[in-house]
Each structure stands twice: as C-alpha cells, then as structure tokens.
C-alpha cells in the first residue's frame, strides 16, 4: 500500500492500528478517529484505512465507520466510490436494522457520485416489507431531493411517497408526511428565490386533499409524539372545505391537548387556531377555547425553556383572544428562582390579564418584585405598575401609592424608573395626582439617567403653574445645560418655554438664558433648531406660541396588541414556531426571505411578502411603543414641527454634525428590535426604518418628506441611506427621552 504523510504522529499510529490484524485493536482505533473528528482534528487522511473496516458483522463498528464517512465523504468523493459496494450490499442484508442503516447513511453522504447509486436501493427500501426500513427510506427521499431534485422526480419517488400516506404503519405515515412537507418547502423556496432557471414542477408538491386528510387524522392518534407534530403541521396547512370539515378537524385534534409533550400540545393549539376560523357554531368555539386554557397553563410547569416558548405563544394568543386565561393570573406569578427571561414574559402576560377584579393581587406582586435583586427585572416590574395604572382607571390611585412607596426606598434605579412611569400616569390622568409632585421633585438629585431626568423635567414644565419654585428647579438644569444629554436638553428647552408661557413675569430671565445657551453653545443641531423655532415663535407671535406649545395632548392607552392584526393572524397560524416566539414574521430571520436593503427598495415584486411583513413588524414595533411615542409629542404640534424641521434641516445643511449624531449612540427602540438578530442588523434596520420614516413624514406633513429628500444624496451607500432616517427617528424619539 502507498505511504501517505509523515511516518510519525497521531494519524500515523492510528493508521497502523486501523490496519491491525486484531479486530479489537481496529475497532478501538476507529473510536479514537471519531473522537479526534469530534474535537475538530483533521483525520480525513485516514479515509482509505477507515473504509477497509466497513465490511463487518459488528453493528457498532459499522455505525462508527458510517459516521466517519458522513463527515468526510464530501472531501473525498473519489474514495467514497469504494464504499458503494458495501452500501448496496447492506441494503440487501436480511437484518432490517442494517438495511435501514445503509439507506439512512447513503442519504447523508452528500457526494455526487454516490447519489446515482442510491436510486435503486431507495426504490427497494420504499417497498420494503419492514416498516422500519420504509420509514427510513421515506425520509431519505427528502434528503435526495435536497441534493438532486431531478433524480427524485425521474424515479417517481414523489408518487411513491404519496402512495405511502396510506401505509398501514403510523410511523411510516408520519415520516412520509415529514418528508413530503420538507420537499414541498424546499421546492417552494426555490421557486420563489429563483424566478429564472429550471424549476421542478414543484408548485404544490404536497397538496393535502380531503382523502389525505382523513388518513392523517387516523394516523394522528397512533403515532409517536414526534410523528404527531409532523402530522399536525400538515393539518395546519390544509384548507378546510366548509364549516363541517373545520368542525371535524377541530374535534379530532382537541384530544392532543392532553399529550405530555409540549411540542404536540402547541402544535395542536396551532391547528385549532387555524381551523377555528372556519367554525361557525359559537358553542363549539367556546368549548374549544375553554379546552385550550388548561393545557397552556400546564406548560408552565415544564422546563424553563419550554415554559418560555409557551409564554411567548400565550402572549400572542391573548392578543387574539384576551378572555382565554382570564381567571388564571395567579399561575403567572413569578417564582423567585425563575430565570429572568421567564419572569419578564410572565410580567407582560400579567399586565395583559389585569382587570378590576385581580388588580389588587397584581399590584402587591409587582411591589414585591420591585425589591428583587435583578435591576432589569425591577425596572420592568415598575414599568408594569405604570402600565396597570394606565390600563385600569380605578386602580390608578393604588398604583400611584405603590410608586410613592417605591420612591421612598431611595434605591437609585427604582426611583428613576418610578419617575419615568409617573410621567405616563400624568399623561393619562392630567391634573389628577398633583400631590405627588413635591415628592418627585425632592428626588431631583437622585436622578442621573437621561430618561428619568427628562421625565421629571417634562412633569415640571407641564405643571409649572402649580409648582411654586418651578423656575428654580428648571434653573438647575439650565445651569448645567451644556453638560446634559440631548434628550434632557430638548426637554429642558420645552419645559422652560412652557414655564414662560404660564408664568411670564418670573421666568423671563430663565427663558432668555436657555435660548441663548441652546443656540450658541449647544452642538446638537436638533436642540439648536428647536431653540431657534421657539425663539422666533415667542418673539413674533406669543399667542400662537401658546396655542402650539400648550396644546392639548392626545390621550394615551395601552395597546391591546403589540403586532399588527395581519401579522397576528399569520403568527397564530405558526404557533410554537420561532416566528411566534419572536413575534416576527419568519422572513425577518430565515435565510431566503432575509432580503437586503436594496432588494426591498427596488424589488420587482413591489409588494413581496417579505416587504409587507417587514412593514408590519415596524408597525407592530410602533404599536408596542405607542405609549412612548405619544408622549413624545409632548407639546403636540410644536414638537413635531420642531422635530421634523430640525432633523430635516440638520441633515441637509450640517452634514458633518449629522454624521456625528449618526455615529453617536442612540437609544433607538428599533435597535432593540434588531439587536436580537445580531449580524443581520444593517439589512434589517434599514428595511424596518423606511415605513417608520413614512409614518414620520405623515406626522410632520411636508417636513418629514423634506428631510427624507435632503438626506438621500448625502448618504454614501444604501445601508447608510437607510440608517440615517432611522437615526433621525431615533433622535425624534430621544427628543424627550421618553423611552
């Protein structure tokens, strides 16, 4: 035999052992090769030596060799040919386990040359008398399709698979369904990605007919847990022909709620949520919804990860059917040792379930959480108190009391978050809880976060006529104006102007000072421009300044849904999938649909699914922040006017400065949305930002459009192009720092 490589080292020793005359030694060597392979060492050089050990009676050894082959077949295509004979021989072995093993492995080899030899054994495998071999062969068709679809079609494997849906063995049916679904997905995604080129007659490779439906429903009750999920997935794709069929499907699927596997339960929920659309009888709908609640609650005693997936999906379900778990709030109470991701999700759901009857219990829980250790969780709990106050009018006072108690703890982050939350409560119930203001103001020194500061300043400006020393308090911020962050600066500016309009006599000096500082010493164009506008407004027409700055603000409320209705429907049809966990359409994170900025902008299919989906994401994101967005327009028209103007102008005239902002940090909420997707950020954010920009333009009338126009030419590349408006939007939101 030829000598390869150096005559020493680990691989050389292995090679000697692999050729040893003793069986045990050879087997041991194979194990060592696999171990080396696992940790990432390159043992591909041993290919011929390992291959020699393939023909053996020892099943374990055979499996090990196969494992090795699967790993290196791609890199050594010529040598794989040597293995073909053994494989083909194995597919005729009397032992069904060996036959299945050979077919399974051949499908995983991914080497062009061996694939051509796969067709015949596969043909036999699909007709094998043993169900174990048949179920393996069924999946192998899907493997083959992903490598060489032509072969599958030429050999008529698809027709065979369709026939196998009627197989007597439920496992075979389940795997056939899984394989057909897989092929269907591959085919349709190819279809949509490459409009040109040879497309296999893939359109609707796996269309579920009523005949197939009845077979699936029968197999559903008999196959393994994983098989059930595959079948339920297929049922979810079926389009029911009329009400009767919808009823029938729902009734047959409901028992699956009692399955121990959370995957099966959620898959069943998905099927019900889809087919319930066709159910007309109100009593059936009622009973289906009722039966859905207990299993969902039970999922909360699963391991934390499954719990989390369940919670995210419950959150979605509640948006569609808020009554589903109405009386179950207590089970969502956080345990002290729950992982943070579970706790946060539970908080969200608790606020969703809050009503007059359970608000007492909820508040005492939230108060309890506010004294826990994890800062993030504490903040979210306090935020939840604010959301409860905004949601339930009758509970607002109790919420305010709880917040006051929390402020008295004097824990810095608690106080700051509480101040931010108080601002929302003032937005919702203007002039109701003014008695709280002195307490808030006394904590002025504790605040060091921009958001908290900006909130307090807004409150002071808003109630300037009720606070005796408002000018004094605002004076503190005016003194340190240039050191503050931009959101605080903007907020100070507005608050001082409000103060001036309310108490012109005592605050002339302050307003002069702040306008002076803002226009002369401030390096943010946004702040400067807003100051100029105020200045001009005040000097030219104080009456209209009053009308603009002190205009009534639109009321705020907690949005019932965080995703747009169309997207919600889509996600409910994908319960328990990643999309439903993220509350985002799959196009945003799954390979093919994750389109770059350019393709969306000048894509030929103007209204592609992906684009629409992305828009809905953006809308959803807005809805989520509705509360905050609204409060952004603190002084109604003024801000929008000022903001729109400033951002537009800034970008046009002072590009370097604008770039500065762009490179600076931003607490843009869109970042949150995107951050989870890691490196997809540029593509995503740019897509997402465009609809946001649109809504911005509509908000600002002509001004936003102006900004948009002004920006495009200055941007160097598409990503930058899109990110600048986004950044503007960020500024817009940061304006008052109310995030």
């Amino acid at each position: 035999m030829s000598v390869r490589g150096p005559r020493k080292g680990e691989n050389y020793e292995l090679s000697i052992d692999l050729n040893s005359e003793y069986r045990d030694k050879r087997k041991d060597a194979i194990k060592r090769v696999i171990a080396a392979m696992t940790v990432g060492k390159d043992v591909s050089g041993l290919f011929p030596d390992v291959l020699k050990n393939m023909q053996t009676e020892d099943l374990e050894q055979k499996k090990l060799v196969y494992l090795y082959l699967m790993n290196y077949a791609k890199t050594q295509p010529e040598l794989v040919i040597l293995a073909v004979n053994t494989f083909v021989k194995d597919t005729d072995d009397p032992n069904p386990l060996v036959r299945a093993l050979a077919i399974r492995t051949m499908g995983c080899l991914r080497a062009e040359k061996i694939i051509d030899y796969l067709s015949d054994p596969l043909q036999k495998g699909l007709r094998d008398e043993n169900p174990y071999v048949r179920k393996t062969a069924a999946l192998c068709v899907a493997k083959l399709y992903s490598l060489k679809p032509e072969l599958v079609i030429e050999n008529g494997f698809l027709e065979q698979l369709h026939d196998m849906i009627s197989d007597a063995n439920p496992m075979v049916v389940a795997n056939t369904v899984a394989a057909l679904t897989d092929i269907h997905m591959t085919a349709t995604s190819q279809l949509s990605s490459s409009s040109a080129g040879p497309v296999p007659e893939g359109e609707g490779i796996f269309v579920i007919s009523p005949a197939i439906l009845s077979k699936l429903l029968i197999a559903l009750n008999e196959c393994s847990e994983w098989g059930r999920v595959a079948i339920l997935n297929a049922l979810a794709r079926y389009e029911a022909q009329g009400e009767k069929e919808s009823d029938h499907i729902c009734e047959r699927v409901v028992p699956q709620f009692q399955h121990a596997n959370g995957g099966v339960v959620l898959a069943a929920v998905k099927v019900i949520m889809i087919h319930i659309r066709g159910v007309q009888r109100p009593e059936l709908i009622k009973s289906l919804i009722k039966k859905m609640a207990p299993p969902l609650v039970t999922l909360l005693s699963s391991p934390p990860e499954v719990q989390w997936v369940a919670l995210r999906n419950i959150n979605l379900l509640l948006q569609k059917r808020p009554d589903i778990l109405q009386s179950e709030m207590r089970v969502f109470f956080c345990k002290y040792n729950d992982p943070l991701y579970v706790k946060v999700e539970k908080l969200d759901i608790m606020v969703r379930l809050a009503g007059e009857n359970n608000v007492e219990a909820l508040l005492s829980e939230l108060k309890e959480y506010s004294s826990e250790v994890d800062v993030d969780f504490v903040r979210k709990s306090i935020k939840a108190i604010g959301q409860t106050a905004v949601k339930i009018d009758s509970a607002a006072e109790r919420c305010v009391n709880v917040l006051l108690e929390l402020i008295n703890t004097r824990v810095s982050y608690v106080v700051q978050e509480a101040v931010v939350v108080m601002k929302d409560i003032f937005r919702k119930y203007p002039s109701t809880y003014e008695g709280v203001i002195p307490t808030l103001c006394s904590n002025l020194d504790e605040l060091d976060e921009p958001e908290a500061k900006a909130s307090l300043i807004w409150i002071i400006g808003e109630y300037a006529n009720k606070i005796d020393n408002a000018d004094e308090l605002l004076g503190i911020f005016v003194d340190s104006f240039t050191e503050e962050s931009y959101p605080v600066q903007l907020q100070t500016l507005t608050a001082v102007v409000k103060l001036f309009l309310k108490k012109p006599d005592s605050s002339q000096g302050v307003v002069q000072r702040v306008l002076n500082t803002a226009t002369k010493d401030c390096d943010s164009p946004d702040v400067r421009d807003r100051a100029y506008i105020y200045w001009r407004l005040l000097s030219s027409d104080p009456a209209s300044a009053k009308a603009v700055v002190l205009a009534d603000r639109p009321p705020i409320s907690i949005p019932q849904t965080t995703v747009a209705p169309a997207l919600l429907e889509k996600l409910l049809g994908e319960i328990s999938s990643l999309a439903s966990v993220y509350h985002k359409p799959e196009e945003t994170f799954v390979g093919k649909g994750r389109v770059g900025a350019d393709s969306v902008q000048r894509g030929p299919t103007g209204l592609s699914d992906a684009q629409r989906a992305l828009q809905t994401v953006a809308q959803g994101q807005q809805a989520e922040n509705l509360l905050d967005l609204d409060s952004d327009e603190v002084s109604g028209d003024t801000t929008s006017l000022g903001g729109g103007l400033s951002s537009g102008l800034a970008a046009m005239e002072i590009t370097p400065a604008a770039k500065n902002i762009i490179s600076g940090t931003s607490s843009n909420p869109l970042d949150d949305l995107v951050s989870i997707f890691g490196n997809s950020t540029p593509a995503m954010s740019s897509n997402v930002s465009s609809p946001v920009q649109q809504s911005q333009s509509s908000q600002f009338g002509g001004m936003g459009g102006f900004g948009d126009l002004g920006l495009s030419p200055t941007a160097p590349k598409p990503a930058g192009n899109a990110s600048s408006p986004q950044q503007q939007q960020g500024q817009e939101e940061d304006l008052l720092g109310l995030f």
Partner: protein
C-alpha cells in the same frame, strides 16, 4: 427541523457534534462558543444570529444545543433536547462531561437513531435499549429475527412495548407524586398554591395487558360549575403516549397498554383545595442597621400518623451578614455564608408537631445603605402517603388474554423542592 446537534462543555469545547443537513459547516460550533458560552449577557435560551438559531439548554455545566436555519418548532426542539437528556440519564446514570466523554460512541449511535435528517424519530428509552446497548451487537443470522421484532416495536402502533414480555409474578406499582407550588405573602396570604402531580408507574406485566385506571378526579373544564363530594378537581391532565386520548376525550376513562418497566403515566395539575402540609410562620425584624432577629416556626398540618421527612428550610440573610447565632430544638441549623442563608435541616416532623428556630444575625456596617431585598424562605420536604390535592387511586384493572391475576401497589408522596416559598 434540527440542522445540527452539539454538546459543549462549560468552556465551550465540543464534546459531541452531529450535522444533519447540508446548510451548516462544523465551524458553526465556534459561533456558538463565541456568542453564547463566552458571553455572560446571554439571557435567552434561543439566540438567532443572522438566519441561524441556536436553541440551548444546560445540564450539569453542559450545553445541549440544537441549531436550525428554518422557522422551526421551538417547543418541539426544546422537548427534544430534554428527551435526549433523559435518554442519556437513563443510559449513563448521569449526564456530565465525564459521562459524555466516556460514552461518546453510544451517544452518536443514539443520536443517529433518534434523529434522522433533523426530524426526531423514536425516542422511547425502553425500545432504544433493546438495540442500542453498551456492549457490541453482532449481526448474525440469529439476530435477524430479533431485529425484526425490534423494528416492529420501534415503528408499531405500540412502539413502547414488545409483545413477548413474561413475568412469573405480575405486579404493577403506582406512585402518585405531587409537587407543591406555593407562594405565600409576607402577611400570610396564599398568593398561589397549586399541585403539579404525576403518576409514575412500574409495570411488570406479561403479554399485552390492557389497563384501566381510575382516580377520584373530575376534570373541570368549566370552573363555574359547583363542586361536590370528595372528588378532586383536576385543572388539566396530560398522558403518556400509550393512553388513548380519543377515548379519554369521549368517556373520561384512562385506558392503555403500558410500556414494560417504569414510565410516567400521567401528569396533572390541581389548584383547588390544595392542602399545605407545612405552615411556616416567620417573624423577621431588622434591629437598627446592625442586627436582624429571626423567629421561624414550622407547623406540620397533617394527620399525626404521618410525618414529613428531609425538611430543609433555607432562610435568607442580608448580604452583609458576618455571623449568625441559631437556636433550634429540632434538627440542625447552620449559617452558610456562601449562599447568604441559614440552612435548617429537620430529619423528621411528626404530623401536628411544631418546631421553632430563633436566630440573630449580625451585620457589618456598609458605606452605602442598600435595602435588603428579602428573598423568600424556601422549604423542601417530603411527606409519604399524603397528597396535597387529595387525589386517590380508585382502581387499576388489568386485563390480559391469559387471564392472570396481578398485584397492584399504590404509594403517595407529596414533596417540594425549590417551589415552596414564603415571603417575609
């Protein structure tokens, strides 16, 4: 579907790696190591980077990771990861770095068997054990017949049972095990009390026995209906795949052909009339800024013939505690500085009995006074022959062709570990 499956150790070294699809290279493992293992800020069990999603669970410092590029079924993937961990536990006793390293050959064999092309296949431990063993199997003429049986079982309608089981003595053991979840407020109000129960069965029955199982339950779908009698209200129950769900849905009978050996027959949940076996009455007062005094009483609220065993109370102390003096009449109490808790262990509390701990914690002065978060007191315990929900097994009938008689044993156990929390 799952595209790749990995096991990492705590340092992020790959112990097991298996790719099922063509869309990944092995180097995807490095991405996980960099982005998750060495990133302390990871707070979500699913991480999506670009279009690649990593699902990870942790067990004994190991990361069990499934990777996918599609819009996969998240619940299924996590259930699968836990299934794998269970299988590994039952094969190797425990799942840690050492056992994975020592058994990697079997693990690869198992993975190969339970997942194909990213789709989970048969994961019934009982069946797997018939043909994936720690000793090597030789494929010979004799084995062929055996294999046919195995494959029939692995794919059959009763994939969990082989047909040829024989026992001299036909026995079935039923364990009703209840886990009590309690959150009690500082004022002594029960905020949340419910029971997660499961019924564990060990069946040593010959042939293909048909079992019928009865409890004193009534499943409440509509909570507004009044309750009556001693029937226990179950909010929900879930069954092992051997139970005929359709029949349960129609007639509420639990009928099944049990797997051979041990399995979890059902899981249930009950929230009404939960009896709390232990009542804890804590009085904790902060004396100035330098001392905290504790007086904690535990009361056993059940029949005096029964007893709670292995009772462990974990009573939190402030972070700046220097020393704690404890006095107890029963058991042993010790301050554990590393965890900032007083651990009070009582080997046995008879029903009706009361135990008290009094302790005094000394604190160092801190420059910044921070409010003590007061985490809840956590109680672990076990009470034999007691169910918090009041559930009782009414009957277990076994029918088999050969008509043998079988002996049935029933045990009850109520316990809590980490879920029985009392705030103070």
């Amino acid at each position: 579907m799952i595209s790749a499956f990995f096991i990492f150790n705590q340092k992020g070294e790959v112990l097991i790696s298996r790719l099922f699809r063509t869309d990944f290279k092995r180097s995807i493992a490095d991405v996980f190591r960099i982005q998750v293992v060495s990133n302390p800020d990871v707070r979500s069990p699913i991480i999506t980077l670009g279009s690649t999603s990593f699902f990870h669970t942790r067990v004994n410092n190991l990361y069990v990771v499934a990777v996918t590029k599609s819009n996969a079924n998240a619940a299924l993937i996590f259930e699968f990861c836990y299934k794998f961990i269970n299988i590994a536990k039952s094969y190797f006793g425990k799942v840690d770095e050492e056992s994975v390293k020592n058994n990697f050959v079997v693990i690869y064999e198992l993975i190969d068997e339970i997942v194909d092309f990213g789709y989970p296949q048969n994961s019934e431990i009982d069946t797997l054990k018939t043909y994936i063993t720690t000793e090597s199997v030789v494929s010979s003429a004799v084995a062929v017949e055996e294999s046919s049986k195995i494959t029939a079982q692995a794919t059959g309608a009763t994939s969990w049972r082989r047909g040829d089981v024989k026992y001299k003595k036909n026995e079935a053991f039923v364990d009703v095990i209840e886990n009590v979840n309690l959150i009690m407020s500082a004022k002594g109000n029960v905020l949340r009390a419910d029971v997660d129960g499961h019924i564990q069965m060990r069946a040593y029955l010959s042939g293909t026995p048909e079992c019928k199982f009865g409890l004193n339950d009534k499943l409440v779908i509509d909570k507004s209906q009044g309750s009556g009698g001693d029937a226990v209200e179950l909010d929900d129950c879930h069954f092992h795949q051997c139970v005929r769900l359709h029949e349960f849905d129609l007639t509420r009978t639990i009928s099944f052909v049990p797997p051979d050996g041990e399995f979890e027959l059902m899981r249930y949940r009950s929230t009404t009339n939960v009896k709390l076996p232990l009542r804890v009455l804590p009085t904790v007062t902060e004396i100035g800024t330098s001392q905290v005094s504790y007086a904690v009483t535990v009361k056993a609220n059940f029949n005096s013939k029964l007893s709670a065993t292995n009772v462990v109370l974990r009573i939190p102390t402030p972070l700046n505690t220097t020393n704690v003096e404890c006095k107890v009449a029963n058991g042993k109490a010790k301050y554990v500085p590393a965890e900032n808790v007083i651990v009070w262990k009582i080997p046995r509390i008879q029903g009706g009995q009361e135990c008290t701990l009094s302790a005094n914690a000394e604190l160092t002065s801190m420059t910044t006074r921070q409010v003590w978060a007061r985490p809840p007191i956590d109680v672990d315990f076990q009470v034999l022959m007691f169910t918090s929900s009041g559930l009782i097994v009414r009957f277990l009938k076994v029918f088999e062709k050969s008509g043998y008689t079988s002996i049935k044993w029933v045990r009850y156990l109520t316990k809590a570990s980490g879920t029985y929390q009392i705030r103070f």
